[in-house]
Amino acid sequence: MTTKRRYIALIRKNLGDRLNIREGVAPNELYLSLRRESLGTLPETCSLLTRSFRANFTTLVANDERSLNGTFVLSYVFSVPTDDLFLILQVPVEPRHMEVPSVSHVLESANWFEREVKDWFGIVAFPNIYRLASHPDWPEDVHPMLKDFDPQTSVPRVRGSFDFKHVEGEGVFEIPVGPVHAGIIEPGHFRFSVAGEPIINLEIQLFYAHKGTEKIAEGMSPQRVVFLAERISGDSSFGHAVAFCHCMERLSRCEVPRRAAVIRTMLLELERLYNHTGDIGGILLDVGFAAGAAVALELKERLLQLNELLTGSRLLRGVAAIGGVRRDPEDTPLKRQALADMLVRGRQAFEDLVSLVMSSSSVLDRLETTGILSHTDAYRLGITGIAGRASGMNRDFRRDHPHCAYGPLTFRVHTSGEGDVLARMRVRIDEVRESFSIIEQLQLQDPGEPARTGVVTVPPLQQALGYVEGWRGEIVHWAMTDAEGNIFRWKITDPSFHNWRAITVAVRNNIIPDFPVINKSFNLSYSGNDR
């Protein structure tokens, strides 16, 4: 990879005095380790990397490596979309001095990541010291991701209350909502400050769905973790499972059979399809367009039924495996017929729905200029996936970091500049069309060919990223194996973790009754965020 050489030379020339460069097991990863004495340059280094290579901050991984080398390690992961490369800036942290300078002022998208690291590992990114993941009744000095914290510990509740930003002023009052909501939604607490009608501030407290997923995976065999990965966020079961498998395969230098890549791509698109149509239905329902919603939700149901027919699971579970896939969605004439049918009739039903919606000016009026997320804010907060693309962020891992079988496919990445609810619906509509076309391109490419390699032996003490462009946005996993080839550390990054802050911005100056539709237009995962 000559591009990689170029990057190495460039980085060595400009930053060689403060960091060492190492290639990862996976061909598109470059590990840059910041020397201990250069810790003070961390924010500047991050900012240099993002600016000189047009890199995007992707995730921050903390790892308790005390048992291996006496230190903690923080890895700041950047995606370089133009050259399909990942730069992973690693910083050692001494157990005696659990502090690094915060990078949030140069990289606002890292804000929540730093706070989670403080709660879970006790490593402070000074001065970004606010709680995020730990609820107020969680003791200050207990950090569950430390290796010496036993996951079976029963941690006592302490007294404490949420620290919300209070907006003061005449006629300003607060409306608290949740964690149990009115509809069938996941748990979270929202606190609105309103002045008359408009919302002037929204604070969100999440992590009600925190299940210790990353922690309980430690010591598990990678094969078993696949089942956990399927359950990080139910509506992205396949996306997360493939991201994890991808991670293990990269770390093991294992190539999956071509047929497996094709099937994965197909199923990722089917996951996108049922979620996008469901979201369009949800948006229509929230603005009272019941006839349109019914069509969309019925189509979603048909897609879920198709999933079950093709894979045995409506949520596409039990298909992904390290080294390929467990079943072939095109191995019987019945399945092939059902898929072909969906491509004709499902598509037709979808087009009918679109023309129904687009001819309803009252619906369009409600969606237009509602819940605007400006491009500047989206860029600043590092918003990913459809929410980002609807605010003009031209990013998509399917094109920028081709995985599965996306490389040779023809498809367009759709964006919109408006950033309102309508834009988020429009991008979904365009993406549904692309998904149908992608599935069509992949249809009947050697059905029945072997779709799984033999037993994959996962090597000890290796680390790698794994990723897919899920329907919501980029799903990025990073994992390291222990001496036995089991999981030593697993970091899950759901696109929702990047995107939750977008909602707090998008609702400002909108009225409370519009909150549900704004929220729906992002449709973020609580469980994926909280894990």
């Binding site: 609820h135 569950p144 996951p151 079976q152 510990t153 029963s154 941690v155 964690p179 149990v180 009115a182 509809g183 069938i184 939604i185 996941e186 748990p187 009600y208 769905a209 925190h210 299940k211 210790g212 997923t213 922690k215 309980i216 078993r224 089942f227 956990l228 359950r231 990080i232 966020s233 139910g234 509506d235 079961s237 006839a291 349109g292 019914a294 069509v295 939700l297 019925e298 149901e301 879920l304 079950e308 027919l309 894979t311 045995g312 699971s313 409506r314 949520l315 579970r317 039990g318 079943r327 019987t332 019945l334 023309s355 129904l356 001819s359 309803s360 995962s525 609580y526 469980s527 994926g528």
Partner: protein, 289 residues
């Protein structure tokens, strides 16, 4: 407007006919795994493959050469790994209506003794009879009483996500779509526990949802039904019990009906809800009591 009318008129009837007709899931569907105890040799291969320890093989501490193979459908996530590990004695059926009112009914056991050749053999004589006959009757009676008080009218459900992965919510939401149309049973999802007759709870009950679940339960007027949806809600599922998870709904509030699945498909949910309402036509608490 014309278009909408046209859509409404030409849309046709989408709703399925459950429970009059229980549709068979497609081939390849992963439903209830069944162990053929006569072919099983209590070798432990399935237990080793099961990601949630729904299958266990225990060697008796008292009597040498005795083993128990136990399958708990409450913990099962229907992944099919057991079948792959032992295609000889285990296969996944298409059965999916697995809801029960008594958790112990989710468990089946086989007892084995080691033969002179060292191979474990299924022993015909069960070493232990079902120990829960009485409590079942009690539970059945109590449930019937509640149901009688509740259903002179329609059923109002409050859904509580106690930290699920959202998979169960995808399926519960589907109950409202035109295909399952749960409203035809007089069942409605309501926005406040104060208006609810039934709490439909998902997730393993995270530490951070424990108090909220208790509060919701307390705010729901008596008599009330609690239905635990999915492997997580029954016994923690893949997440088990940990610093972050209570390991199931009945660790926090009493539960009337358990619906296995990960997630249960919409018809399995309907089955469980109707079972709780004592309105499922074929079986239900009326028959067990």
């Amino acid at each position: 407007m014309l278009r909408i009318l046209k859509q409404a008129l030409t849309g046709g009837v989408a709703t399925n006919s459950y429970p009059r007709v229980v549709g068979e899931p497609p081939d390849g569907f992963r439903g209830k795994p069944v162990i053929d105890f006569t072919r099983c040799t209590a070798c432990d291969a399935c237990a080793g493959a099961c990601p949630t320890s729904a299958i266990t093989v225990q060697t008796s501490a008292q009597k040498r050469g005795e083993r128990t193979v136990e399958m708990n459908y409450g913990d099962c996530i229907f992944c099919g790994e057991c079948e792959a590990a032992c295609p000889d004695a285990i296969h996944l059926t298409k059965e999916f209506q697995l809801a029960v009112t008594d958790k112990s009914e989710l468990v089946t056991r086989g007892f084995y003794t080691r033969g002179s050749d060292g191979v474990y053999q299924y022993s015909e004589v069960p070493a232990q009879t079902r120990s829960h006959t009485e409590p079942v009757e009690e539970i059945g009676k109590a449930l019937k009483k509640k149901v009688r008080t509740l259903f002179g009218r329609s059923l109002h459900i409050r859904e509580v996500d106690a930290g699920s992965c959202n998979g169960c919510e995808v399926e519960i939401t589907a109950l409202n779509n035109p295909v399952y149309d749960i409203q035809r049973f007089g069942v409605r999802f309501v926005a406040s526990p104060r208006h609810a007759d039934m709490l439909l709870v998902t997730g393993p009950v995270t530490r951070n949802m424990e108090i909220a679940l208790k509060q919701t339960y307390d705010a729901t007027p008596d008599p009330k039904l609690v239905v635990a949806v999915g492997a997580c809600a029954i016994g923690g599922g893949v997440f088990g019990k940990s610093y972050a998870s209570c390991g199931g709904v009945d660790a926090v509030v009493p539960v009337d009906v358990y619906i296995p699945g990960c997630p249960p498909r919409p018809e399995a949910l309907l089955h469980g809800i109707l079972l709780a309402m004592d309105r499922y036509p074929h079986q239900g608490p009326a028959h067990t009591a």
